[in-house]
């Protein structure tokens, strides 16, 4: 079935982004219990329920066209959102193949990939694109392969090189990131770019996760969910743009909390790439306003309890300190104290 795109939504200025009831129903709610702490919450990235955001390796939803337009705007105004070190070119082609073949296989009504040897034709109907290029020859594309294909995909993408017993962030596209900078992190290893995360290193989470990812196998991708909160449905919360968004944290009042505050969930997936032996790391951002969230009663109750009990170091790291109390008071109106059922789905 064709997806009904909402091409005119905005993620800045007038913020017209909204979730349809269907989009709310398939939102990847992240809290498995009424409290939250870091864990190695990595699971196989295998097909999930039909219509859910886990149905296909790369999820396309009603926000696709608008998100691609937002990405193009970010690239036009701040070109350092796509960066790639020269040794990552084989990995860029691997990523192009993975993304293009996933989209065309899973959404044939919207995308088509025709291959004749290394001569490939790519059709993207929602964006009105039709291009021919030679796989492996960057001169046949208007931009580098990772930039080309991720201009046509929702979510941020990083390419991790594996060497010296570590993973290195050596290429990426990031325009919808939760306060981390590609330009700053480029060339860092797994331990370095996780440096600012509190508590997790002491819990041994990173050592175990790195060891696990170094053995990631072709054909066996994995995923995890990560979360934070954002004021307004703003995709671009990069540190470079923080003058435009950080002050919004002071604007939350009991009257506007339901509209302004959004739960921001990242569906992160990791794939071993076959020709380059690199890893593709996708970070897909889903935004839901508190008003939309509490339409699922269990999610409202549980989010209230998680935020109320959240460790102070996490409140600080996730930037929630200024409005947490206001938000918890607002959410209390949706928590009648009844127990929540196991799992993340609605009751």
């Amino acid at each position: 079935m064709a997806i009904a795109f909402k091409p005119d939504e905005t993620f800045r200025d007038d913020f017209t982004y909204r979730n349809s009831p269907q989009a709310i129903g398939r939102f990847p709610f992240p809290f498995v219990a009424d409290t939250f702490m870091y864990s190695v919450n990595i699971e196989p990235h295998v097909p999930g329920e039909k219509e859910s955001c886990f149905e296909f390796p790369l999820d396309v939803d009603e926000h696709y066209v608008a998100e691609c337009r937002e990405r193009a705007f970010c690239l036009a105004t701040t070109p350092d959102r796509f960066l790639a070190l020269p040794h990552m070119m084989p990995a860029q082609w691997d990523a192009l193949e993975l993304i293009a073949s996933s989209l065309s296989r899973d959404y044939p009504q919207h995308f088509c990939l025709e291959r004749r040897g290394t001569r490939w034709r790519w059709t993207n109907r929602p964006l009105g694109l039709e291009d021919e290029f030679t796989f492996g020859d960057p001169a046949t594309l208007a931009c580098e392969p990772l930039e080309y294909i991720t201009r046509q995909a929702q979510g941020d993408f990083c390419l991790l090189d594996q060497r010296d017993g570590n993973l290195w962030l050596d290429a990426g596209m990031a325009t919808s990131q939760a306060d981390w900078s590609l330009n700053f992190d480029l060339g860092m290893n797994f331990v370095e770019w996780h440096g600012p995360v509190p508590l997790a290193a002491e819990l041994g989470v990173f050592d175990r996760a790195l060891k696990f990812l170094m053995n990631l196998q072709i054909g066996h991708p994995v995923r995890r969910l990560n979360w934070t909160m954002t004021i307004h449905p703003r995709l671009d919360t990069s540190p470079e743009q923080s003058p435009h968004w950080a002050p919004d944290r002071g604007a939350v009042t009991p009257a506007n909390a339901g509209d302004l505050v959004h739960l921001r969930v990242e569906l992160q997936a990791l794939w071993r790439l076959p020709r380059s032996n690199a890893i593709l790391f996708s970070i897909r951002c889903y935004l839901i306003s508190m008003n939309e969230l509490v339409t699922v009663p269990k999610w409202g109750r549980r989010t209230h309890r998680v935020l109320k009990s959240l460790h102070p170091a996490l409140l600080d790291y996730k930037g929630l300190v200024r409005y947490r109390d206001t938000l918890v008071d607002w959410l209390a109106g949706f928590d009648d104290g009844t127990p929540t059922t196991p799992g993340t789905g609605p009751e």
């Binding site: 084989p90 594996q162 060497r163 060891k211 196998q217 072709i218 076959p274 020709r275 380059s276 032996n277």
Partner: protein, 320 residues
């Protein structure tokens, strides 16, 4: 690799390339292309023998640009556990086998300014595909390859025909030896060295590089060990609730698999760490043959790598 995801293949060609080595060309039973791979990859080949399943890792030696077939080379080990004898004696054109997805534990260093390869015997196989990957880069490389004599030099001659004086061949029967001190001396900054061959050769290259002031990060080796034969012993698998006998010529991992217990693995050669298993009880000593556990971990005797390691014991209980 999970056992249900192995790719069914048929042997399309068998070639005796040296007195000890046969080369096998494998095609998918469904006729499709194989997964793409990178130079340095291995696959685990699953062989169903009479009453016994062998799973041996072999490097992919064909060009990564051609995935219509996979190619492996198998050296015959008469004193081994039987996998290579099965490949040499039982496998012919048309034989059905299975292969897992490729895994690369011996990748090229993408930032290297120059690549130096040192190989012995059948250790040349991963390097054949690595050299093919280097065609798409401008990085210079050289190969030093030692075999017993000219009759063992099928792959070396092939590489020299294609690459000329980048390839240096050494024949033991002609008294030609690798001068490792000279090879590692005066290499340009940013050179990486890779070895694959017998344990003594790998160790000698590492030692020569260290003596010449190389950093460890620029020295790479493929040091899969075949599971050695040892004393028989019994193991109790606590989670599965079964006791398994490990005969001399079977590895702990193979014996665990044979009783139907699913155990994780990638390399089956003691290097990747995937099969690491907790030792719950031990009366006796562990015989560690892997390159994964640290000296402290070996001394603590709380972990074992069942793909290659064994025990001399009266009681062993594993968390599996």
């Amino acid at each position: 690799m999970r056992h249900d995801e192995a790719i069914p293949v048929e042997v399309a060609a068998v070639e005796q390339v040296t007195p000890l080595v046969k080369q096998f060309t494998l095609r998918r039973v469904d006729g499709g292309p194989f997964p793409p791979f990178s130079g340095g990859c291995h696959v685990v080949v699953v062989m169903h023998g009479r009453g016994r399943t062998f799973r041996n890792p072999y490097s992919l030696l064909g060009s990564p640009r051609n995935v219509d077939c996979y190619q492996i080379a198998v050296r015959r080990h008469d004193a081994g556990r039987g996998g290579s004898r099965f490949m040499h004696d039982e496998v012919r054109v048309g034989t059905r086998l299975e292969v897992g997805h490729p895994v690369n534990l011996f990748p090229l260093a993408k930032l290297a300014r120059k690549h130096v390869f040192v190989a012995g015997g059948v250790g040349i196989t991963p390097i054949l595909a690595m050299v093919d990957d280097l065609r798409s880069t401008s990085a210079p490389w050289e190969l030093h390859y030692r075999v017993r004599g000219p009759e063992h030099d099928h792959f070396g001659r092939k590489l020299r025909d294609e690459n000329g004086n980048r390839v240096h061949l050494y024949y033991g029967s002609h008294g030609q030896t690798l001068d490792l001190g000279r090879i590692v001396a005066n290499q340009p900054l940013g050179t990486h060295i890779y070895t694959c061959g017998a344990e003594q050769m790998v160790a000698a290259v590492a030692q020569a590089a260290k003596a010449a002031g190389w950093t460890d990060s620029h020295v790479h080796c493929e040091r899969f060990v075949a599971p050695p034969i040892g004393d028989p012993f019994d193991v109790h698998l606590a989670r599965s609730g079964v006791t398994v006998h490990i005969p001399s010529e079977r590895s702990l991992l193979e014996a665990i698999e044979a009783v139907g217990v699913d155990a994780p693995y990638l390399c089956r050669g003691g290097v990747c760490g995937q099969c690491e298993t907790e030792v719950l009880e031990l009366e006796g000593v562990l015989v560690h043959n892997d390159h994964w556990l640290s000296d402290e971990e070996r001394a603590a005797a709380k972990k074992i790598m069942p793909c290659v390691s064994r025990a001399r014991c009266t009681r062993l209980v594993l968390d599996r």
